[in-house]
């Protein structure tokens, strides 16, 4: 990659994308491309049906060579998904990839002004002009290579954490598993059997634990927590605390596998008022201890606190847990009467649907209630479950010996703290929030940190295991390469003008700036590997020493000039 900013005057190419009808159906794309031709320093302008398609990218690469372009502007969709694609295209054509400017005329024009095509077109022209004016001042930037420490940290020693750790260790990298409890196993350590494979949970855990303990590459830290994690992809300094003692480790990649726990529905459905009202997890314990052997009838209630009652979400696995426990009860005591009160049964896929069919064939009753009128549990000496039975179209009542509440999974305590420590977000539901719901389900937006299992949201064990293997695979990308390319468009402090006030150090959310002594005075120094290019430090700087590369004052003012000229 060329690291030199071209010395010759700017020669800008503009590529305006139709995005099929997405942009072209509203914005007059050919007119925008024609307009761009007349802008200063523009030597080539065209429109493409899809600039991101192979022929669009070829069109850019060919134009760079043919017209000797030294800056490229693409007006299309969003840099969030497409900037890396266009940047690597101009790099292939021999340009420094930072000599590229993105103009978003989809979200900002054709989508928001769908009903006003003329105004949308006018706005697209203004935005393109702003992009072109900024592009004239773009500079080549250099990406630093960052070495990656060949070790990983897996936070959480449940099934997902162990599977992820084994996946990484298999490839020859050191792994530290940190588990808060005394033993490995997590939530699955509290259950009897795993469905739909019908395997003893204890054997799943012991198999995994044996492999983990046998691996010379895995160090297990039980009764331990991650006290601190500072750094960036490839280079985290991690403090693991066990009791009062701390150990310190250099870590290349981190996997969050902190899991989830069953919500205790205190104060709902008379839970806590009577020992015969249990959660599913409590039922499993009582079954293990033989405490339910004499019970003649059981009523299970689904969606407790979930799907809009207390939490907005569906906990995905409670239907399969309830049906599993119902089948286990029925298998042990065929005469037992088990009713499952539900709203929608969630048993997707092949194996689970089969379990659901088996349950019905065994005589387990499924009674549907509407979410608007959820069941009520009354402990009046006996137990009464009152609900609107949809298949009867009438109010109904059960008098079971035992009421079992299917309560949702909720994030583990400490998720918030961990999210702050690793600077990775939580969603509204309190579970960790991935980089992209569809295409990056196991990545965080922060490089070098990955997630899997129920820390990401409620799910069954099989899916958690697939995710754990997937997260290990993602973490192995920086680990196997031994290096990553750092972001180049970061903040920069000019030591000559810096007055060393430290304002930038205070406002930086990524702890990326240090105040250091140079020749008898203090100046700010940006750690480019930590900087996330948020730009917060720039307005905080009173002396004008701080610059956000690719968003310099002169570049931004040029854009403002372009837009204000239009207004006038």
């Amino acid at each position: 990659m060329s690291e030199e900013t071209p010395k010759s005057p700017p020669r800008i190419g503009v590529f305006v994308c139709h995005c099929g009808k997405n942009i072209g159906g509203v914005v007059d794309v050919p007119s925008v491309a024609k307009f761009a031709e007349g802008l200063p320093n523009v030597v080539f302008s065209t429109d493409n049906l899809y600039t991101c398609a192979e022929d669009g990218l070829t069109c850019i690469k060919d134009a760079v060579v043919k017209h000797n372009l030294n800056r490229v502007v693409v007006a299309s969709c969003t840099p969030r998904t497409h900037a890396p694609l266009f940047m690597s295209a101009i790099e292939e054509a021999g340009l420094n990839q930072y000599l590229f400017e993105f103009v978003n005329i989809r979200d900002q024009c054709s989508w928001v002004h769908m009903k006003e095509p003329e105004k949308a077109t006018k706005k697209a022209m203004i935005l393109v002009e702003m992009g072109v004016r900024k592009a004239s001042l773009l500079e080549a930037l250099e990406e630093k290579e960052i070495a990656v420490e060949p070790s990983a940290l897996v936070i959480g020693g449940g099934v997902a954490g162990m599977v992820a750790a084994l996946g990484i260790a298999d490839h020859g990298f050191q792994v530290h598993i940190v588990e808060r409890e005394e033993r490995l196993g997590g939530l699955i350590g509290n259950i009897e059997k795993v469905y739909p494979v019908k395997r003893a949970a204890s054997s799943v855990i012991s198999d995994l634990e044996r492999a983990v303990r046998a691996s010379p590459m895995i160090e297990v830290h039980t009764s331990s927590t991650v006290k601190d994690a500072k750094g960036y992809v490839g280079n985290y300094d991690v403090e693991i605390q066990n009791g009062g003692a701390s150990t310190f480790h250099r870590i290349g990649a981190i996997i969050v596998a902190t899991g989830a726990t069953e919500f205790k529905p205190e104060g709902m459905y008379s839970y806590g008022e009577d020992g015969r009202i249990l959660t599913q997890l409590e039922l499993e314990r009582q079954m293990r201890e033989g405490k339910v052997d004499g019970v003649k009838s059981v009523a299970m209630i689904q969606c407790v606190a979930a799907r809009g009652e207390k939490f907005t979400y569906c906990s995905k696995m409670c239907c399969s847990v309830a049906i599993k426990n119902a089948i286990e009860l029925k298998t042990k005591q065929p005469a037992i009467d088990v009713s499952i009160l539900y709203n929608d049964i969630q048993m997707p896929g092949e194996a689970l649907e089969k379990v659901y069919t088996d349950a019905r064939e065994m005589g387990i009753k499924f009674l549907r209630f509407p979410l608007k009128a959820r069941p009520q549990v009354v402990a009046d000496g006996g137990l009464a479950v009152r609900f609107f039975n949809e298949s009867l179209g009438a109010d109904d009542e059960l008098r079971p010996d035992l009421v079992v509440l299917s309560a949702p999974l909720v994030p583990r305590e400490g998720a918030k703290e961990l999210s702050r420590m690793l600077k990775v977000p939580l969603g509204q539901d309190g579970f960790f929030f991935e980089a992209h719901v569809k295409l990056r389900p196991l990545d965080f937006a922060t490089d070098g940190v990955y997630l899997c299992g129920t820390a990401h949201g409620p799910k069954g064990l099989q899916e958690s295991i697939s995710q754990a293997m997937g997260a290990a695979s993602r973490a192995l990308i920086p680990l196997s390469n031994g290096k990553v390319r750092g972001e180049a468009a970061v903040a920069f402090a000019d030591e000559a003008t810096c007055i060393g006030c430290g304002n930038c150090v205070k406002v930086c959310p990524y702890v990326a700036i240090d105040r250091v002594e140079r020749n008898g005075r203090f100046v700010a120094v940006v750690n480019s590997a930590l900087c996330k290019a948020c730009g917060t430090c720039v307005p905080a700087c009173p002396s004008g020493a701080m610059t956000q590369k690719s968003f310099t004052d002169s570049q931004l003012l040029e854009m403002v000039d372009a837009v204000s000229q239009e207004e006038a």
């Binding site: 159906g25 398609a53 022929d55 979400y313 569809k438 295991i465 997937g470 695979s473």
Partner: protein
């Protein structure tokens, strides 16, 4: 020890597995039977639960595969045989003749514009026409024309030749022959995806009889700006915008009698998304979803369906229709159903009906399994000897399966599981045994 991996299937699962491997430094082949990679995701308009434009988020992945130094795409190709064992497979692949010199074709489509033959366009599920020489869709990778020799007049009647004349690059080569290539790979990942169950046999729904009864994948193309109606919601029979669209769930799914007993996993959310998009395109069109259980269990899915009800006015009725008939005088469809919440038999007029057809392993999967020497389960999905701890393993060491062909799942689950397959495969080429 061969240090490459072969991925069979160029849908999102295969693409993601290949990128995961290649990004780790492992050379990977993608074999795709169609002329382009992209799979079903390339045919979707938007994706739930974010309503991201599907091709917009997929196209960069396609281009990444195409530009990756460590990925070789063999599109329009089929696996003929697999010999050897884990760590050292020898694979024979047929690269079907496109009758186009791949080096010369610029993807300009001058050939397609001049081609006189029009045939049903499978990329719009037969809702419009394509030419005998064609590029499936603008983001196709590789972006190379293909001659469909089964309909091209040069091959069927020995005349024409217009495309050869029009091609400025001199890329058309009628004499091209299928080519057999042999690859040595350490591991193989099958990602052969799904196809839509044909609902014709469920005659009560009138699919194939009434034009305005369509499958949910067909309707996806009708919603899509790059589809046959340019995203206008018009019905196939007369081009009118329907007053009401009724979505029927579990057509062939959860139905041991006619179709498959399993739940296809994605259709409830798929219908919810399509109904939302209908309302976004045209707020005057009513939407109603007739469902069995609303399977909205994934992350953010229940909230999405709630938004569908509250913000988009989608009506959800728990019912399975008994039959669909057409009122010949008005041309409108009538859906007869029993509402299981009110226990009443009712009928509803519908301008269009969208059938959420079961998704089944793609037709090529059975043959592929035979070639790979692995077992399938009773419904034709790849079988793992340990579905819990080794979900992507097959019955043959070194061969893995991921995505919908492993079991029904949505895009994020396919992407996550593709990583799992990449992990298992990279372990093989790294020489880890057991």
């Amino acid at each position: 020890m061969a240090d490459s991996v072969l991925v069979i299937g160029g849908g999102i699962a295969g693409i993601q597995a290949a990128l995961n491997l290649a990004d780790k430094g492992i050379h990977t082949y993608i074999v795709e039977k169609l002329p382009t990679i992209g799979g079903h995701m390339a045919l979707l308009d938007k994706t739930f639960p974010t309503n991201d434009c599907s091709i917009c988020i997929l196209a960069p992945k396609l281009a990444e595969c195409s530009n990756h130094d460590l990925i070789d795409i063999l599109a329009y190709s089929e696996v003929l045989s697999v010999e050897g064992k884990e760590g050292a497979f020898k694979v024979k692949i047929k690269r079907k003749a496109r009758y186009i010199d791949e080096e010369k074709c610029t993807g300009c489509e001058d050939c397609a514009r001049s081609c006189p033959i029009k045939v049903s366009n499978e990329y719009n599920l037969g809702l419009n026409m394509r030419k005998a020489i064609y590029i499936p869709f603008p983001q196709s990778v590789p972006r190379i024309a293909t001659i469909d020799a089964s309909v091209c007049m040069h091959f069927t009647k020995g005349k024409c030749g217009v495309c050869k004349i029009k091609c400025g690059a001199g890329a058309v080569d009628y004499d091209q022959e299928d080519e057999i290539v042999e690859l040595e790979v350490g591991s193989i990942i099958a990602a052969s995806g799904f196809e839509v169950f044909d609902p014709k046999e469920m005659t009560e729904y009138g699919y194939g009889v009434y034009k305005d009864v369509v499958t949910s994948m067909e309707f996806e193309r009708i919603l899509c700006a790059s589809g046959p109606t340019a995203g206008r919601i018009t019905r196939p029979s007369d081009g009118k915008t329907p007053d009401r669209i009724v979505f029927v769930q579990c057509v062939g799914s959860r139905d041991p009698k006619h179709g498959r007993p399993y739940c296809s996993s994605v259709c409830c959310m798929h219908a919810t998304k399509e109904a939302m998009l209908v309302r976004e395109h045209d707020e005057h069109v009513e939407t109603c979803i007739l469902y069995t259980d609303l399977r909205a269990a994934g992350k953010g899915f229940f909230e999405y369906a709630e938004r569908g009800k509250k913000d988009y006015g989608i009506k959800y009725i728990r019912a399975k229709p008994g039959r669909i008939v057409r009122d010949e005088s008005s041309g409108e469809l009538e859906v007869w159903y029993e509402d299981t919440a009110t226990l009443k038999v009712s009928r509803m007029k519908a301008g269009m009906v969208v059938l959420a057809t079961a998704l089944v392993p793609s037709r090529s999967t059975a043959k592929l399994a035979e070639t790979l020497g692995v077992e399938l389960d009773e419904y034709g999905f790849f079988r793992s000897p340990d579905p819990l701890l080794r979900p992507v393993d097959t019955t043959r060491p070194g061969v893995f399966a991921t995505g919908y062909c492993e079991s029904p799942k949505d895009i994020p689950e396919s992407v996550a599981q593709a990583g799992a397959a990449a992990l298992r495969a990279s372990r093989v080429v790294a020489g880890v045994t057991a």
